[in-house]
Amino acid sequence: MTAALPTPSSADWAINVRHASKTYRRAIHALRDVSLQVAQGEIFGLLGPNGAGKSTLVKILMTVIRPTRCEGELLGKPVGDRPTLGRIGYLPEHLRFPSYLSGLQAVDYFGALSKVDRAERRTRSAQLLDQVGMAPWAKQPVANYSKGMKQRLGLAVALIADPDLVVLDEPTDGVDPVGRKDIRDVLLALKARGKTVFVNSHLLGELEMVCDRVAIMSKGTVVRQGTIGDLTQRSRRYEFVCGPLPNDAALRDGLVRLGASTAPPSSNGETQLEIGSSEADAAQPVIDLLRARGVTLIAVRPVRQSLEDLFIETMRESGDATPGAAIGRSGGRAHPDATSPKKVS
């Protein structure tokens, strides 16, 4: 773990897991001594390639899997405390509803299992189905739903008990772009209401847009954890796009002196430069130099490494660049401050 954790008191952690381990048949280590903290009221993203142990960790938290070892608390109660599960909404991966239920019946059924009283279920079911855009199909059998519709329904089911903590395992799996936007809006609305959201997803662009903090898992361990800003701090820099650079030795010397590197001109004649600082003050001398030498400035922007690039870099560092590390790119690079840097010389 490289990033500093936020420092609320332990009572303020929504999730505070220590030494979580899961070994199958004394040989297969799905989780190795994972420790993870999620503060109340934040949206936390869990990343990792297939087989990294993300779903195992989520299932341990939700008591679907028994850990080999696990200490810690969920919402201030020991992990596995059954009454506490009533305060947690859960959307599992590969969600499968009983096909004979309608959407409304499914929400009502799981609401009853969460001990939500009947009147409240009735009110909240309709509200939630409307919120996730499923109201028109509420009375249709789930068997007729598309995968995206089932995911939306799953989100409604996860929220029926008005939980303090929402755990979502691949919530946007199979959901179209409009649906993903709707789900993001729901997550942000939850955060605005002070709820904690724990998201496990392959869609890094999605996470980047909503998460306050992320953890990256590899081979059953957490290899990085922190805010996206912290984790990408070292990659922050300024990027300049300008017209063709004149064959001017003083200009080139000046750029080298200011620490600016240049990439070969693109086919349209534009040249790209960058400096390894995210401070605006550091960019000013470069701008002055370029303008003094009559170079046309097209764009100046601060950039940082995207979550996707951070993820891939982390996987390479941890030696987990397996085919299973393939990640979804939908929605990637949407962050205005998160463009992938081109190779510069």
Partner: protein
Amino acid sequence: MQSAALLMDSWRLLKSRKLFWITLAINFFVVALYGSVGFSPRGITILYGLKEFEVERFAFGLPLARELYLSIFSNFIVTLWLGWIAAALAIISTTSIFPDFLGEGAIDMVLAKPISRVRVFFVKYVGSLLFVLLQVATFCLGAFLCVGWRLNEWNWGLFMAIPLVVLFFSYLYCVNVLVGVMTRSTIAALIATAIFWFALWATSAAENITHQIAIFQETEVAPLETRAAELTERLAELRADGKNSENSNEFERVRGELETAMDQVVAEQGDVDTAQRWLLGIRIFTTALPKHEETINLVDRWVGKDPQRSLTDILMGFGRPGGRWSEKQRADQETREAVERRVDQERKAEPAWWIIGTSVAFETIVLALGAWSFYRRDF
């Protein structure tokens, strides 16, 4: 609230199964057939009076007519329809409940709720029994109305078939659930249940046959013992009369016959002992198993008819050996019937608490294993 939700879910599941409605439709058909049999002052009517058989002893109001009608219910319909066909349909229809319930993405949603796994397991199990409960309840209500109409008697004992048939089904279903939980495979659960059912039937048949052999051997040895006793007595008389000299032909003949008879008694008694040992061994084994046939047969005791009188006994008048039978054939047939009747009587004399108690003990152990497996398992 949570248990009610699980049961409601089971009800919705059943409603979605075509086989549930098909079985219910067949139920109505069987009840309609049962109701089509009636009694007139001259005998039996079928097809709602379209055809009449003049058999005086089954005339309306006579005790035998009542015995016949209740026997059709308990010995034929409950045993054949509910005890075999409907039970098989129920097994087929309910086998997938647990494997489907335990599928990835389905069970996660339930286990992540504030409800204990053990409670989920048992409520789901009870919910699955609803299939049979509803079918049998519907059937018994129909049969109750038929009996009321045909015999002018409101026989509440018919409703005892509901718990008994559900209990009988649960003996099979608990094995189905255990295998379903352990393997999460519908096919494996179905095959295991079929094998278990066959094994129950086979052990029951083996016990029945061994019992018959033992009783038959006893009936064989009894006349030999009588004969040996007579010969011993005769020999004593000859001695008393002073005719026991070696030259007495009579004495030698009786002594020879006695020796032969005693040898036969010893040989037959050996066979009896062997049969009894086998019977004891089989009984020790079957004690640990559920008594599926005996449980169904308890219906016979509680519908208010003579439990020792089977449907065959009542209809005997139609099927007695006729004039074409020789004396030996008639005697053999009577011996066979006597043996079967005695076996039947002895089995029916077993106390209900023993039948149900040992069966429920088996079911409890199997369900405990299933619950333990469900409780410990990672999904």
